[in-house]
């Protein structure tokens, strides 16, 4: 019983990180209908940025969050204005954007290899190994802090999307860009800002990931995949959907230790994806995901 409790709490903590990780991908896909294949690359780059800030300027990973948000917002805007803007919209553009952003990912990975080599990096903070006890089970401080930051980020995002002009414009463009033009919304500007925002969220995920995991320049592939699984499971509609998708994935992964050997944990998400798509092609809540 105690073991089940420990695993359940671990799953909840993991789900917090997962929802923060998936939101950037979901936001960009929901508004621009583009899957940002560079998402994993941005997460990796942000982890390295955090590590550099910690190593050279002794900036704590959690204090590096604002820096990462600003930097990767800029990176996202640059990627959109420099590359994505030129692609056609619609199905033809979807395939092209996939390949284009994949190219961006390869370039980011190569730069990371050149700058930092392929060696595994870990950020050694003072609290990295400390833990607290909850109801007799111990949990690491870093994981709880990551969970807290993820919750705050999701809440802030929710406020942004529902209470501000920009947020409402983003949601309107997601529904119908043409009508938005008629209503006087600068759609192109919304696209730029959304891409920037989505990339900034990937940056946030990278900071959080660096506090939890060791990373190499290849880090990010399974994060991309998991983010995508979460979007398919939970849908793009709401914070609640994303959080539910993240929770389903986290619980499936954590409890899979009873069923499959540990090295297959990262394949659990994919199996879940296929099973859900076969049984419920519309995702868990029945919204259309196909076109």
């Amino acid at each position: 019983m105690n073991e089940v409790f420990t695993l359940a709490v671990s799953a909840i903590l993991l789900a917090g990180f997962y929802s923060a990780m998936a939101y950037g991908l979901g936001l960009i896909y929901g508004v621009l209908r583009i899957v940002n294949l560079a998402h994993g690359g941005i997460i990796m780059a942000s982890a390295y940025l955090t590590w550099q800030l910690f190593d050279h300027f002794a900036i704590d990973p959690f204090l590096a969050i604002p820096i990462a948000l600003v930097v990767f917002f800029g990176v996202g805007v640059a990627i959109y204005l420099g590359l994505v803007r030129f692609l056609p919209r619609g199905p033809a553009g979807a395939v092209q954007s996939l390949l284009l952003l994949f190219g961006v990912w390869l370039v980011i990975r190569n730069i990371a290899y050149l700058l930092f080599t392929g060696n595994e990096q870990v950020i050694h903070t003072e609290y990295a190994t400390s833990s607290v006890r909850i109801l007799g089970a111990s949990f690491s401080v870093a994981r709880i802090a990551v969970f807290g930051v993820a919750l705050v980020a999701l809440f802030a995002l929710h406020l942004l999307l529902t209470r501000t002009y920009l947020g409402r414009a983003i949601r309107a463009v997601a529904q119908n860009p043409d009508s938005c033009t008629l209503a006087g919304i600068n759609v192109e500007r919304v696209y730029v800002l959304t891409f920037g925002l989505g990339t900034a969220l990937a940056g946030l995920a990278g900071v959080l990931a660096s506090a939890l995991f060791a990373f190499t320049p290849s880090f990010g592939a399974s994060e991309l995949l998991k983010s995508f699984v979460i979007i398919v499971l939970g849908g793009l509609g709401s914070i609640v959907g994303i959080a539910t998708g993240a929770a389903v994935l986290a619980f499936a992964e954590v409890f899979s230790v009873y069923v499959v050997p540990p090295y297959l944990t990262s394949a659990v998400g994919f199996v879940l994806l296929v099973v859900v798509l076969v049984l419920r092609p519309g995702g868990l809540f029945g919204q259309r995901v196909l076109r």
Partner: protein, 320 residues
Amino acid sequence: MAGFVVALVLLYLAPVVLPISEYLHNIVGLTFMFMAAALAWNWLGGFVGQISFGHSAMFGVGGFVAVRVTLALELPFLVAWLIGGLLAGVYALLWGHPTLRLRGPYFSIATIGVGEATRLIATYWSGFTGGSSGLSLPLAENPTKYELYWYGLYLLAAAVAISYWLRRSRIGLGLLAIKEDVEAAGDVGVNATLYQDVVLFLSGTVVGVCGGFYASYQAFIDPQDMFSFDRSIGFILMAVIGGIATVLGPIWGAIVFVIIQEFLLANYSELYLGLYGVLLILIILFEPQGITGLAQRLRRRIRRPARPPAVAATAERSTV
């Protein structure tokens, strides 16, 4: 058709006539295999428009099954390749039949998952794949790299023939319809599920045979190499560089790929990811049809002064 036969005969005889080094001869043989694999990837990625990031899975399955069959039953290598290829095709259907109902990015990301899951399983299933130490082929049963040149050529010829068949036949029209709009294609009587399954099976089988060829060529395979993500990327790059969705484009793409791989990157191996990334970006932004598109543009520019209304002729040519 005539050009195809002439090219085949010329390539068949070339090693006998031309004094090229054995190293180059072997590389050309390997290039034939890459051409066949890139063409096979293009049937799914280009003709149907379903970009797969997981074709290394079939390459690996084909390779390992071929080696296992050779080791266990001592079958001739051609039979071993074929069995490896067929099982790879079946494996492709196994994951592809459920996932092919997804379109565009959804399918693509699912294939990343397929590739990664297959790689993980293959790496840890050391009873079958030999784990990180890999498997070696007995040299006696195996054709030499020199002989493999011609087998590579047969493989390429088969892939080219299937490419033309898939584009020119009734199925080809169905695939174009599916690529444009699945639901509309269904409305006019195209069985999208069946057509896509057929294409995926063919694609997986040929890529699997290519895996068997590669195993014979190297006489040694290990799962980290056969199932690597980089290998899947390789297939995509060859098709995109040469001209995605064109009939013969991937052939030119494979040549460029092998030249970059063997000659340019031999000294700068730390730059290969970035180079491929930059290539992808440039091609998508400036010439989405790759080398084929570039060639068409040049041809049009040369012919324009002589015959201004070349629209009909260009439209005809654009299918090649």
